[in-house]
């Protein structure tokens, strides 16, 4: 196929017209100021890359799916907007190795967020080549917006996209209630990025991550999270101690199951094991503790309901009675003192 490639590239060069005027030695030399050359248009690129059979010298394909690109979010962009080093290139075929595309040159805020993420650190600092950069999740020429159902980062597609690498986690996620809701088409069902975020993704075994759980799960399970903040676990967490149980310590994270499922960490038969992870020796009586109590719900605990009622009468009663008592005392003492003062005058 080498001869064909030659032909194609020659054709492409012809499209460039006057651009070919530049001398042969100039390609390698650093360009001090951008020369006013007309950058190649998308059709120019597609002249070579639009051919499904086009290959590099080493036999790897250089073909681009022009139809997928036309349907992508970036369809209106010029090739050289991303492949910016081709803007000033005059010699075609261009070298095999181009500069890496920098998505952050346009998407700078997201780029900065990603730069601090666990994926970017793994890739950039540790040199872990399999850690994802933008295109690994978003695709490249076929990139689509997240509201587009066909996008790799659309709500329903996120588990599959992350699962391409995190396969073990994906399998566990598929067992849980959140995946079940997603499969039913529930748009509120959380996918990976709802809990982990997409670009700011961090380790989950840090204190900061543990402390954020209540708010994270609470963004959907608001009343449960609020009840949790009334418990010792919740209050300690609010005070910034990561030692107390957070949501995922009892419910699990990816394979969350309802208490009615025998495999669930919170199934009645498993509670002693689950609580026992921290509270060694938790017995059947111990696990009757209500982890999300509601003192206003009589059916949940009559004793707690009555205790709540009792103090709702006792506290205002005490403060009301003795508050008034104090005010009257103050008023009478001042009045008597003034009367005595007037009397002695």
């Amino acid at each position: 196929m080498r001869p064909l490639f030659r032909v194609l590239s020659t054709t492409a060069c012809l499209f460039l017209g006057g651009a070919a005027v530049a001398g042969a030695g100039q390609v390698a030399a650093p360009v001090a100021a951008p020369v006013a050359v007309k950058p190649p248009a998308n059709e120019d690129c597609l002249a070579c890359h639009g051919d499904a059979d086009a290959k590099r010298a080493n036999g790897t394909s250089i073909a681009l799916d022009a139809v997928a690109f036309a349907a992508s979010k970036h369809a209106t962009r010029a090739c050289v907007d991303c492949h910016a080093d081709l803007k000033t290139l005059t010699e075609f075929p261009h070298p095999d190795t181009l500069k890496k595309v920098s998505c952050a040159s346009c998407h700078n805020a997201v780029g900065a967020t990603y730069h601090d993420s666990i994926h970017a650190r793994a890739r950039e600092k540790s040199g872990l080549k399999v850690a994802p950069a933008c295109a690994d999740c978003h695709g490249s020429h076929d990139i689509r917006g997240k509201t587009d159902p066909k996008s790799r980062v659309s709500h329903a597609q996120v588990p599959a996209t992350c699962g391409a690498c995190h396969d073990g986690i994906k399998q566990r996620y598929d067992i849980g209630v959140h995946a079940a809701a997603l499969k039913k088409g529930d748009s509120r069902a959380p996918v990976c990025s709802d809990c982990h975020t997409a670009h700011a993704i961090q380790r989950t075994d840090t204190d900061a991550s543990r402390l954020a759980k209540t708010a994270e799960c609470g963004s959907c399970h608001a009343s449960v999270a609020e009840a949790f903040t009334r418990t010792f676990h919740g209050k300690v967490t609010q005070l910034g101690s990561a030692r107390a149980a957070a949501c995922s310590d009892c419910h699990g994270a990816h394979d969350i199951l309802p208490a009615s499922n025998a495999a669930s960490t919170i199934a009645p038969a498993n509670l002693q094991t689950t609580c026992g992870k921290c509270h060694q020796g938790a017995n059947a009586s111990f696990v009757q503790y209500d982890t999300h109590p509601n003192p206003r719900d009589y059916s949940r605990s009559a004793t707690l309901w009555w205790a709540n009622r009792f103090y709702w009468v006792l506290i205002p009663g005490c403060f009301g009675f003795f508050g008034l008592h104090s005010l009257l005392w103050f008023w009478r003492s001042r009045k008597d003192a003034r009367a005595r003062k007037d009397g002695t005058r």
């Binding site: 205790a307 103090y311 506290i315 003795f322």
Partner: protein, 272 residues
């Protein structure tokens, strides 16, 4: 009234008990409030003063255990004196802490006096609001102590109690704390120290004695009884020295200030 005749009111163990209760109560409040109002902006700051939540928890348990021991000592002491030594006056009579019919009568009389419809009641050794304070502290310490112990030793508690008792214990501990802190730092502070005639504080709990003049004014019935029975002379003590009074002012001011600051914290958390 320096130099005037003073009458003994609180013996040394009683004064010490008040200091212990006062110190532990303030310590328990300062270390417990961050947890009770864990969503208030000051909760982490207050806990940080004790080395964070865990440090605050340790201090809280230390003060809790000390207060419980003090209360147990006091109750044992009272029961011993009443039933073994035969001090029946502790259980009934003019100097008893036990609520009696005249307390109800004097409450009505006091309110009648407040509104200007009658004379001030003639009080005995303990007035009704002082008895209320005493029993509130005793009942509160017992209840808070029991709930606190359940939460401190959950594994042992679960051997005898159902697990939902932890929910009740935490709720009661918090609700009773709200009541106790509010009552002591507002009502007791006013009745005992800040009201006109006592302001800025009543030193008797620190010095142990009250001037004869004040006793006659404040507790007419007690003064008359002591006068008639001739017991007054035996109870006469020298007026507290300037150093003793100063120490009392110092301790009292520290306690009052801390308490009022904590009440301000609570009001901020509740009203914000």
């Amino acid at each position: 009234m320096t130099g005037a005749v003073h009458i003994s009111r609180f013996d040394r163990p009683t004064r010490l008990l008040h200091i212990v209760i006062m110190t532990t109560f303030l310590g328990l409040s300062a270390t417990g409030l961050p947890l009770l109002f864990s969503d208030a902006p000051w909760s982490r700051v207050l806990a940080a003063l004790f080395g964070g939540f865990h440090g605050a928890g340790l201090v809280h348990r230390f003060f809790g255990a000390t207060l419980l021991l003090a209360v147990v000592w006091h109750v044992t002491n009272i029961l011993w004196r009443a039933f073994v030594l035969g001090e029946r006056g502790l259980l009934w009579g003019p100097t008893s802490m036990v609520p009696q019919w005249r307390d109800a009568v004097q409450l009505v009389q006091q309110i009648t006096w407040f509104v200007g419809a009658g004379p001030r009641p003639r009080f005995e050794h303990f007035a009704y609001w002082e008895k209320f304070d005493y029993w509130a502290v005793l009942w509160g310490s017992g209840l808070m102590g029991a709930a606190g112990l359940v939460l401190w030793f959950p594994m042992a508690a679960a051997r005898v109690l159902p697990g939902w008792m932890f929910n009740v214990a935490l709720f009661v501990h918090g609700a009773e704390a709200t009541l106790a802190i509010g009552f002591i730092f507002v009502i007791h502070f006013f009745n005992g120290h800040l009201r006109p005639g006592k302001f800025p504080m009543d030193l008797v709990i620190f010095t142990g004695s009250v001037s004869e003049h004040e006793l006659r004014e404040e507790r007419e019935a007690e003064y008359a009884r002591l006068h008639e029975t001739g017991a007054l002379a035996a109870m006469t003590v020298p007026a507290p020295s300037a150093a003793v009074s100063k120490r009392g002012y110092l301790i009292g001011t520290a306690g009052l200030t801390l308490g009022i600051v904590l009440v301000a914290f609570i009001l901020y958390a509740v009203l914000r």
